[in-house]
Each structure stands twice: as structure tokens, then as C-alpha cells.
Symmetry: D3
Subunit: 209 residues, 6 copies
């Protein structure tokens, strides 16, 4: 027991592959994903601040870097749960929560347990920081799917993943950020040369929106 | 839908790593593990037959090659559930079962669904074939842990894994096979040169037995 | 000497890459290949049984899981022997056979040597199980080539491999299985979205047939 | 040009290996390292706050996640510059700085350039956040070297790296954090079972301190 | 100190990846690159000899196998320096040179230092062997870029790399070799089936030439 | 057909792993091995020249970079042929030779076929260059085995490989080089810190010599 155990467990997340089992041209691990999410969130928080919103940077920092720590227990299984019902999804969430609780009680020194319970709880709440986490997390999924389409991965799962991520991004209640993403970033994205016609897929999704 | 989808999903198991997250000198995937289990089981079935038991080879074949197919849905998470309670373990089993059911109903042609439900159900029952599956599966865990100890992996998880696997092997109700493992194979195992003193660890486990 | 040596040598096959040297988007090892072959064979044996054939499941089990064990000695070299004459191919087969014999005599305990000589001999004979092994082995080659074409591998070797595997599959003397493959599975295969026009290549092969 | 280019360049850091060329049992990439640094820094900032210090969390967030972005240009070369003079080190820093400047001017939209110049500048200044970054960065180097010694890497470079990192950690002007590291964490670290006698090496370093 | 240290450092170059950070379907290390360069150079030297030139084979041998040894210090950073000015490039060259000098003085036995200073100096001079090195080195860059375009890598960096390498090859003052490359080899190259239209890109480059 | 085909086949050797199947802490490919052999050979040729021998550098260059090209056909199988008789070894050599011949006749332009037959023939003859190739090739095997012992690989195959390589090196008819290796290099080698007691193993081999 001790914070040393927590620190060494961070290393394990460098060995947890996202979307395991699926064929991918580029593999990503949970540690690197968490870092990219913290980068995207910082950028959109800057946009929100400029649009007059108040950002709690400490909260955003905590939410982004911790949001996938629980994957150390059961890996990254939420994305490809194509055969899962809402009931099964809820069960998985409970399993993860139960393991997280046991981990904190066993490994984290008692004087830090309250802090860890706070930091490790589900971060995607209705605060602006919770929404920025949601946006950053979806953006990374969007980028992972985009990269596969760009490199010519014809497995349908990635078109589905691209569509879901893009649709969720466009629907997020974060006006300034979503506008920036839609009106500025998305243009650069679809102007890239890609093996699969991402431009057309994107247009359809926006039209359906 | 179609058997083609089942066949291509087999490939995904070549990309599912066993004991994900943990540092290992040798990585193993679920497809190769399933093959090794089918090899061990065939050997011990031969021993049981010579000892007068009757073996249903078709059943053994089905049990061994299919026993971990469900990991295609949520990966290999049972081994490192060190923080899991029996309650959590049961939940995970239910999630897996639920996904397996949905998969068969959606992907397998209707004329083969009954066969697949039979072949994909939990194989570790009290038949001699169920016990041979249990023995072969534990033996592979034993070998994976042994290889890490042999190569000098000092992470305690592997000593724990070695102890659990060995103890379970010695307790299995398969007299001829367990005798052969204990009196013949185990001698060769502990006579290998190893970085960590596996011989001593093994002696203690046998003494405690 | 001892069965422990045989069991640890199985692990080496997880490190033997199929079609070494060639550029591939997906790498496969001999252990995982053997498992997939045992899966395909089980499925087609079910089809043959339903069509009235009698299947010796023990023999099928033995043939499929052991058919490539000899690659532990000289690796997977039969596939890319584009520069080999039939004479050279025969020499390679003899080398492999010679090594297999020496291995059994040196490593396998004497009371199991007869069993191993039986199980390790060439399995592709004219029995129905021998034909099922041939079909399953060719099907995995077909799938490996198909996956490369699907992902956009323009190296000609894979079109050649696809053509050879498909032609051999269509010619196998296993009526029910070949019919199922041709009339049911192949439709699903060529309806997949692919980077290279596999549908057209397949039509030509069938037309030439 | 556009933030899309910055976001996709983050991905490149997942492909930049730390301490390239050296033999390592565990490889780490710059993206995952940045995340671990942001985790360590958050923990020690919590300790500093409890000890009465005021922490600017936004600044700490910015410093930790951006501190190695410039490695996208020339890779991770600072650690193994065993043959470098201070003069050469300074040159490398200038090269990196020059590339960073060109990158911001070419790729970042003008309205964000000031923010990026601020965030991407050298973060290890004399503020408490600068010191926390320094501590977190050294701690990751300490952990990387420790893991190699633990797994039996006898290459001297890692003993040197361990000694340098530990000595620097003990000398940092961050009293509460260094005390916690020295009196609490370090005990757990040296009580781990290791292939190389890290306990003894550590005692000598502390004695020399 | 001693030649043993030099020999073991060769191994490090097997771990230095060319064009680090960039997404590539095929990764190459500096050791294998050096070997391919020595192969190309030998072929073109044969062509030059047949065209009446005199080749100093010892010099060619020395130049080709040693030309990238200095990358052991700071990795392969010259290729992707899109953000570097000529000034920055010169600085990098100086850093490398400085490290090379320190390495020879510290590690190479004194009786061989003069030989190593001679062999490790920049080899791309105006001698015929210097030009053959230049040609072989560019040809490997050409082939690396070609392979990415062939496999469908749409990242613009590889079109740029292909264009630069091809243009430089066509401009080299090595008449017989460049003629052979242009009139014989290039035809075979552009007749390969490729995912990206390399034939068209090549025609434009030749037309612009 | 064309030299382009030969050049692209060089790339395949970057994908051929030496000693396939065996567990190794460090993997090596045939391309990088060939480069290291050409480096060792150059060094020892320098020693021989200083000792008054005449070296044909062109021949040495040709021999070293081409000596393992034939492995492109059947991979690296000579080392672990522990179960092979001399008869089987000879057969393998014939297979390789036969494939090499077919390759040259089919792929190499006719005006270069004579050159390629000369360059690709077995290089380990009784000339000084043939002996330098033999020495360099054995030295790389010595170093590969040494690195495994150093890192704690307890598989007996590597002690055997170390013993064979060292014994052959000490017996080579290349006085100046062998003296340098034995009296100067070997001291540095056995003074390295190693996980397995290489010093003792080495002393025994020298004593037995």
C-alpha cells in the first residue's frame, strides 16, 4: 500500500491498448490517450474562456488526466460493445466502480483517500469542465476513427465510430467550442487526402444533423 | 450475418493479449493460448485413456478450442481481478454470457445456432472432458507464470499466479494426469535454470499442499 | 527429455511468423494459425456430418492441432517458395521429416513415442479428416491473402496466394463443404468493402474454374 | 495551418521513444510520459497545498502537459548525451527553440500564437509550479531507471540515470514533497524485490547526499 | 574504453528508427538502412566501372557502412526537419560532429583513433565514392517514400520526400548510374501497382526536371 | 525482372528474424546483422593489414554484405538445427543454392548475372577475406549469445551458442585478429556486469581450449 503503488500502476495503462481486438493501422494506449484528451480540453477551455465562460482549471486538469484510470482494471471495453444492451453497459460500469473503490481502500494512504474518491469519480457531469472532458474524449475517438479511414481501413466499425463521435461532438452543449470545431477545424480535417472518402461521409452526417 | 463473420472474428483473438497491462517478458494472445490448451488436453486425455477412463474426444476438441472465445467481447480480464469480489466476478461472467448470446443470435446462421450455443457454453463442468479443459487451462497459466519467474520477473503477481495455478492443478480430480504432472513433469520443470528460485517456491507449495 | 520439453516448444510456435520476409498489414504466427484451422475444420466437419458423412473427431482433432508442429524446426517456408522446383520442395519436406524424427526420439518419453509418430505424420491424406484438414488449412491461407487485399496490399504475391488458395478450395473432394463455401460464404466475403477489387478477382477465378 | 495540424502532431509523440537506441525492458513514449508527469505533479501539488503553499493549477496543468512537445521535432536526445559538453547541450536547446518558433508561426492560427508561445516556453522556472514540473519529470526518469534495474538491466547507463535522478530529487527546493518522497515513497520503492540490488545503491546515494 | 564498446554501440543503431514520429507502414532502422546503402552503392559502382570510371572499393566500403554512425548520438533527425532553417541544420551537424569527436577520444583505443577519425568524417565529398554514397543514400530515401505511397500513405510528407529524393537522384553528377536509374530502373518502379498514383507524380517530376 | 526487384528484396531481409522461435531479449534481423558483420570485418582487416597481410577490400566488401542474402528464401535456420544431422544440413544448403540460382536467372538482368553468381556464392573460403568473413560472422553470433546471457536468459541454447562461437573464434587461422580478440577485446567483454556468470563460462572455454 502506498502512493508508490498508484504511480507504478500508471505504467500499466501504457500497456492497455484502446479498442483491443480490432484491426487498426495505428494502435493507441490509454496513457497517451489521456494526455491527448488533456491537450484538447485545454484548447477548448481557452475558447470557452474567450467566449466569456468561467473555467475551473484545476477541475479540468483532474477530470482529464484521471478519466480513464479505471481501465487499468478491465481494459478498454466500452467502445466495441456493439453487442451490449444498456443493461450490460450498466453492469460493466458497476464492475469498474467496484474495483476502483477496492483499489482506493487498499492501495491509497488513508489521508489521500477522500481526494482520490473525488478525482476518480465519473467526470462527465453537466459542469463546463465535465462537458469539456466529454468533448475532448469524443474528439480523440473522432481522430482515431478518422486516422483509420484516412489510411484505408475498410472495416465498417470505424465508419460507425466516426459517425457516432462526430454526431455527439456536434450535439454537445458547448457553443463556442462546437462552433470552432464545426466551422474551422472540420474544414481542415475533410480537406486532407484520404484513402476512404471521408469528405462525403462527413457531409452526410452534417446534412443528417 | 453468416459464418464468415464468425471466422473473421477468430482473427481478433490473435490481437487480444492475455493479462493485459501487466509487465511480461513474453506476451501471449488468446488464439495461441487456445491452441496450447488443446495440445495439453490431448496429452492428458491420452494418459486418462491409458488409465482406463473413457474420453469423448469430440467433446474435448469442442471444449478446448472454444473455451475463451467470449474474450473477443471484453478481453482477458479474469486473471488480474485482484480487486474483484465474488460478486463482481459473477457480474463479469453475466456480461460475457449476455454478449455471447447476442452474438450468436445476430451473426450465426439460424441452422447452426443450436450447435453454437452448445459449443460456446461454459466448458468446465464435472465430466472428464470438463476436467481436462480445467487442467489444460490451469497448466497454461502455470507455464506463463513459470516463464516469467524463469526470466527474472520479480513482480509479485506472477508468484501469486504460479502458486494459485500449481495448487489448483494438484487438487484436480484427475488422478492419472495429476500424478503424471506431479511425479514426472514437475521434476523437469524445477530442474530448469531460472532467475528466480522457482524450485524453492515449488517445494513450499507442495509442502503446504 | 520429457513431455515438459514438448510443451515448452509449443511456445516457440507463437514466435514463428507465417510468410516471413513478406510485407503484411497483419502478421500471423503458427500457433494461432493452428487454432484457426482447428476451428474451421470443426465447422466443416459439422456440415459433412449433416450431409451424411461419418467423421472421426479424434482424428480430426489430432490432425488439425499438430499439422504445422514441424515448423518449429525450420519455420514457415513452404508458402513463399516461388523459386523452388518440385525437387527442392521435396528436399525441404525430407529435412522437416528428418528433424521431426530426431525430435521425437530425443525428447518424447519412450512410452509416448508411438503416439507422437502417429500424430505428427503428414495429416493431409485421403480420409475425410485429411480432406477437412486440407480445406481448413487452405481456408486460412485464403483468409490471410483476402485480408491483405482488403487492406490494400498491392504486392502481387497476395493475389497469387489468393488465387491458388481459392482454386484449391473449389477443387477439393468435399462436396457439402465446398458447396457451402462457394454458395454461402463466398458471397459474404466478396460483399465486404475492400481496397483492392477482390470481387472482380474472385469472379474471374470462378469463371476460369 | 490550423489547430487541426497541432492536434494531429500530438499523435507523433506517441511514436517518439524515450532514450532511443538504449536497450530497455520497457519502452516509453513521450505522450505517455507527459501524462505520467501530469499525474505525479498533481499529487505533489496536493502535498504542497496541504503544507500551506499556494498552487496555480492552471499553470501546473499547462507546464506538465506541454513540457516535452518540442521533442516532436528532434526526438528525445537530452538524456543520453553522455558525450555532450554544456556547449553542445545549449546548441541543442537552441535548435529545439528555433523549430518550436517556426512551428507556431506556421501552424498555429494567429489568434492563438501568443497563448502557444507562453505555453510552449521552457516550464522549469523558479515558481512552485516550475519546481513541481521539475520534480515530476525527474520522478519519471527515476521510475524508468528503477524499472530497468528491477528487471535486471545491467547496462551501467541505468545506474547512472538512477543516481542522477535520485540525487536531483533529493536536492529540489520543495520541502514537503521531497520529505514525502524521501520518508514515505522511497521506503516502498526499495522494499520491492529487484534483480539488481537497488536497496544498496539507494542507501549509498542517500549516504553521499 | 575499447573496440568492444564500439562494437556494442553498433547494436544501438538497430534500435534507432528512421524518420521517427511519422506514421509509416514500414519502419526502418539505421543499421539495416546502412546495409541497403552499401548494397546499392556496390551495384552502381559496378556500373561506373563498366563505364570506364575507377572505383576505390575500400573507400566506398568505408563510406557506406559508416555514413550514419553518428545517429547513435542524436537519432535520425535530418529528414523531417521541415521547421528547420539552414542555420539550424548547420547547428545540428555541429552537435553531431562534436559528439563523434568526444566518442572517438573516449572509447576508441589510441592506436585506432586516426583511422576512426578518417572513417567517420562526412563521406559525401566530390570523389566518385562520395557521389556513389550520396546516390545510394538518396535511393534508400526514394525507396522508403515509394513504399509508403505504394501502400497508400496519404501523408503529404512522403510525397515531398519522394519528390526531393527523385529530383536529387536525377541531378547527381554520376552519368552512367543516373542513366541506368532513369532509363531502366525507374520504369520498373512506376510499373508497380500502387495505392497512390506514383506513376503520375513521377512523370510530373521528370517533366519539371 | 530487373535490379529493382533485387533492391526491393533487400527490404525483406529486414523482416527476417535471426534464430526464429527462440525466446530472446533482443531480436535481430538479417539486414542489420549483415551490416554489423561488415563493420567487424573492416576492423579486423585493418588489424591484419597492420600485421603485414594484404587485404582485397573489394572482395571483403562483397563477401560481408552478401553472405546471408540467401536467407531471403528460407529464413535463418542454420543456427538452431540442433536436431539436424550433417546430411540434413547439406540438404538445406542445396535447397538454398538451388533457390539462389533460380532467383538470379529470373530476376537479375542478364548482363549482371555473372557478377551476381560470383558475389552470391559461399564466401567463407580459405582466402584471408573468407576467413575475415568467418570471423565477423562468428563474432556476431558470439555477441548475440553474450547479450542474452548478460540480460539473464537462462535458456541453455544460448550458453551452447556462446561456447560454440567462442571456440570457433579462438581456432580461426587469423593470428593477429584472434590475438587481438583474445587478449584485448575478451577482457572488456568479461568485465561487463552480467546476470549470468559469463566470466566463469568464458574461463572454462579458454581453459578447455
Amino acid at each position: 500500500m502506498g502512493i508508490h503503488r498508484f504511480f507504478t500502476s500508471l505504467n500499466d495503462l501504457e500497456r492497455i491498448i484502446r479498442a483491443p481486438g480490432m484491426f487498426k493501422f495505428e494502435e493507441h494506449n490509454v496513457a497517451a490517450h489521456s494526455w491527448k484528451v488533456s491537450q484538447y480540453a485545454m484548447f477548448f477551455a481557452t475558447i470557452e474562456e474567450r467566449a466569456g465562460q468561467e473555467v475551473d482549471w484545476k477541475s479540468l486538469y483532474e477530470k482529464t488526466i484521471n478519466h480513464d484510470f479505471a481501465e487499468v482494471f478491465i481494459g478498454d471495453i466500452k467502445t466495441p460493445v456493439k453487442y451490449a444492451s444498456p443493461e450490460l453497459k450498466e453492469m460493466i460500469a458497476k464492475v469498474e466502480e467496484g474495483m476502483m473503490e477496492k483499489f482506493i481502500l487498499r492501495e491509497i494512504p488513508s489521508e489521500f483517500q477522500a481526494v482520490f474518491f473525488e478525482r476518480m469519480k465519473e467526470g462527465k457531469d453537466s459542469t463546463i469542465e465535465g462537458r469539456l472532458l466529454e468533448m475532448a474524449d469524443k474528439l480523440d475517438q473522432f481522430y482515431e476513427a478518422f486516422a483509420e479511414l484516412k489510411r484505408g481501413n475498410t472495416d465498417k466499425e470505424f465508419i460507425v465510430m466516426y459517425r457516432i463521435a462526430l454526431t455527439k461532438l456536434l450535439n454537445l452543449p458547448l457553443d463556442a467550442s462546437v462552433n470552432y470545431f464545426r466551422n474551422t477545424m472540420l474544414k481542415d480535417v475533410i480537406n486532407e487526402e484520404t484513402a476512404i472518402d471521408v469528405k462525403e461521409i462527413t457531409r452526410q452526417i452534417i446534412a443528417d444533423h
